[in-house]
Assembly symmetry: C2
């Protein structure tokens, strides 16, 4: 153990961890929302999936070699989300896709940037929302993969099946033929998700592996493979490179950025598996020694979380009598279950899901109904995380809205103004420093203040303990976009609280 | 129809409707709570079961002949609950049991009171929480029952089975032998809840009926039958009569009332069915022409509510995809269900129940767990009805509690004081008149006021529209019993908001 650890304690300068974090994770609704996708949830393990993914690779590579690839609209939320990783967080780089175009364009774009920076670099491409509890095994396997990558192979990780899973794609490996790197296997072919009968035969045949979606290759090699197998994508990527690197000031030129967006949004929507891996002849596979799950739906938790005697996974405020093999995710409200069998129940403050496990992957259909009917339950949670803390909508009524606002020690909201609503603030914990036009004053626990509409104001926590206020808004329009910002610690001067 | 109606339009002065409303209805948790038992819920039909029961009999008997029998602790809540029946409500009489002792003692006590008032009276004894949608058929059958009662029989109502129900007791009637009143049948015996096989044979045998628990008899007759079959109960009832009617001032004499409580609490806990009906030789049965359900559990709704094409009953804010034969009761929060089969999901602001229909009658087990663990979810709802309006606890946190308080037009809360909490009030709709020690002032929409602890205060709605305020309480103790009342429109000077 000590030996292994020391082995990973010299971060490799030329290895880059590329974390794909653009997914929306509708399959974990109602816990996941557009503003809180699956990678930002703590479903298994002691932290969110994204932060676990970063921690898994940090140290193996230096933090500045950790690149997060995500869409522009998610980048700020993710930036706030990883802030708790302290000193690592500020070193992590972001590649922002103008829009989501699947993994081949996202990886291609990243390779373009990375190749400019370091032509000899090796990319470790990882989804941000998978579960891999065994870090040491993962890093050992990764060492092996890097050896293969350095010999110009595209390396994928195959997971030994533990059940006849029909929800994964499979890799058929060639166990008999030798490869240049001991321990790596040749890939015969990639196989689509099988039916149950086929999956059972795969389970008893040791040449089949689950396709984990984790890849390692040289940056130069993936670019040449894209050139070969996806020539049209390659051509546009090179044009984009021309745009982005023609001028050092490009990042601030809206014309160039718009052309970049245009080009990117027309890229072929294709996965790296389908576009490259299945076509390339340069693939090798690491037979992984670690436990893995893609957490594709609520029912996937079964393999990753220890169950009670009845086979149930119970979390939060639950009372259960006699249920079996069920997953109950509650929050603060009481979820009482009686005699369930193979069910999933997930409760959040504004929505609850109830479905049999075997239907759990269809939850996206509910999200589609919500979208079509113009509802909000798929977009945001009642509690919204912000760089300065969080707010929770406790109730919305005719002409009023009530929020609980929690401000971190020493943090402050922007200097702002609302055109159509006034705000009553009651401090229920801590001490607030309030700016109201030219005045600045303290409001202590059990004191209140009033901010009329059209009044510049700022809320600040000057103390070392969290500040908690209850805000009662009054007005004829109470949406978040009624905000004008004049100054902000977090660089937000658009309409976004 | 016109003829029938006119027939019931001359209220019978000597017929008394005795409505048994002492039940707690734990089987409809989480919609029912101790403070909102089943009879106070609107589960089927356009009103609550208790108010439907009152409306069903009102007009057939004069409103002052409607007596509600309930326990002392429920009486005030029920009094508030029936207030919406306006002019009827104030004429309705209450018989308050000092504690719940089953139906034989409750009916015996009522007979004692009624026999004093009217020795020749006829009692129509009805549960308050059953569903009988067909009022006219019920009243026609009742006419028949009264004829039998006047001839000194104990009359029960038998319901023609429509399915092999194992949850009801049955009556075996004698169809061949004639009775003194045409249309009434002799009762051969009462039969315990059968198993499914037996229930199927009952269904195909036209002499078996469901025992509805509705009874009609002369007050003098039920007393003489109690004397015969439950002599010890009879003896104590007579002692209680001696206590209660020995002195006109008895109602205010705490000594006498305590002795009454003592005696009552030691009465045999026995049902009228088991104690009298099964033992008496003077029973006759009306073969009922109306539809009936005792609504014994959530699954009983199946027979009383029209279902959608999938056999589902959906109420409130629901999205369902492909469920079958399920009951989904939602409130304002979204309940999303996918592929359920024969399930019950009931959502309330602080608790949600999920169970298969066939386990629904076991929900009382959950209530028992809640009781044992000292929780509150079986006691009250987040919204509590009060004579002046209602309040809803929106959130409880460390050192604070937030309520939405709605005050009816022209209503006022008591003049009160809290020792350990202060209150911030923000008016979000309407106009409040606030009394704070010697001051009285108006607080309008979007204005607020502050009531420090240890301060006498009163909240009043002087206007014709509802007043709505958000109350933020601060203090180290925030329970409802921190209240001292000085004046109250509703005669409440104990610790009960």
């Amino acid at each position: 153990m000590t030996l292994r650890r020391s082995r990973h304690n010299n971060p490799r300068p030329n290895i880059y961890a590329i974390i794909l974090a653009g997914g929306s994770g509708v399959r974990f609704w109602p816990l996941s929302r557009e503003s809180s996708p699956k990678q930002m949830l703590q479903i298994v393990g002691g932290d969110t999936l994204l932060r676990q993914t970063i921690q898994r690779i940090n140290g193996f590579v230096p933090p500045e070699n950790i690149w997060i690839v995500t869409t522009e609209d998610k980048a700020q939320d993710i930036r706030f989300h990883i802030e708790s990783l302290r000193s690592i967080a500020e070193k992590i780089q972001f590649i922002k896709e103008p829009s989501g175009r699947n993994t081949a364009p996202a990886i291609g774009l990243t390779a373009i940037y990375l190749h400019r920076l370091s032509p000899e670099s090796v990319m470790v491409v990882m989804p941000s929302d998978h579960a891999i509890p065994e870090k040491e095994n993962f890093l050992s396997d990764l060492e092996l993969a890097i050896q293969g990558a350095k010999k110009n192979y595209l390396i994928t990780f195959g997971i030994k099946p533990s059940r006849p899973e029909t929800g994964y794609g499979y890799i058929k490996a060639n166990r008999s033929s030798k490869t240049e790197v001991k321990g790596l296997l040749k890939v015969k072919c990639f196989v689509e998700k099988p039916d149950l009968e086929t999956a059972k035969t795969y389970l008893s045949d040791d040449s089949y592996f689950w396709n984990s979606g984790i890849f390692v290759w040289k940056t130069s090699k993936i670019l040449s493979e894209i050139e070969k197998h996806l020539p049209s994508l390659y051509k546009t990527l090179r044009e984009i490179e021309g745009l982005l690197f023609s001028d050092l000031n490009v990042r601030n030129d809206p014309n160039i950025l718009n052309r970049f967006k245009d080009r990117y949004s027309c890229l072929e929507n294709i996965s790296i598996d389908y576009g490259i891996m299945e076509r390339s002849h340069k693939t090798l596979m690491v037979p992984a020694t670690f436990q893995w799950s893609d957490l594709g739906s609520w029912s996937a938790l079964d393999e990753m979380i220890v169950k009670d005697d009845g086979g149930n996974i119970l979390r939060g405020n639950t009372i259960d009598i006699g249920s079996q093999d069920s997953i109950i995710f509650a929050g603060e409200r009481l979820i009482a279950t009686l005699g369930l069998k193979d069910m999933v129940v997930v409760d959040t403050p504004d929505a609850t899901l109830v479905t049999p496990k075997k239907r759990a992957q269809e939850v996206r259909k509910i999200v589609e109904v919500l979208k079509r009917s113009g509802r909000e339950e798929h977009l945001i949670h009642k509690t919204v995380e912000r760089p300065w803390g969080s707010y929770t909508v406790l109730e919305k009524g005719q002409g009023y809205k009530i929020k609980r606002v929690v401000i971190k020690p020493k943090a402050k909201l922007s200097l702002q103004l609302h055109k159509r609503r006034s705000e009553h603030w009651v401090v229920v914990a801590g001490e607030a420093r309030v700016t109201k036009e030219d005045q600045t004053y303290l409001v202590r626990t059990n004191e209140s203040t009033y901010i009329p509409k059209q009044t510049r104001h700022r809320l600040e926590n000057p103390a070392d303990a969290p500040l908690q206020i209850i805000e009662v808004q009054n007005g004829d329009y109470l949406e978040e976009d009624d905000i004008e910002r004049f100054d902000d610690d977090y660089g937000r001067l658009t309409n976004d609280q």
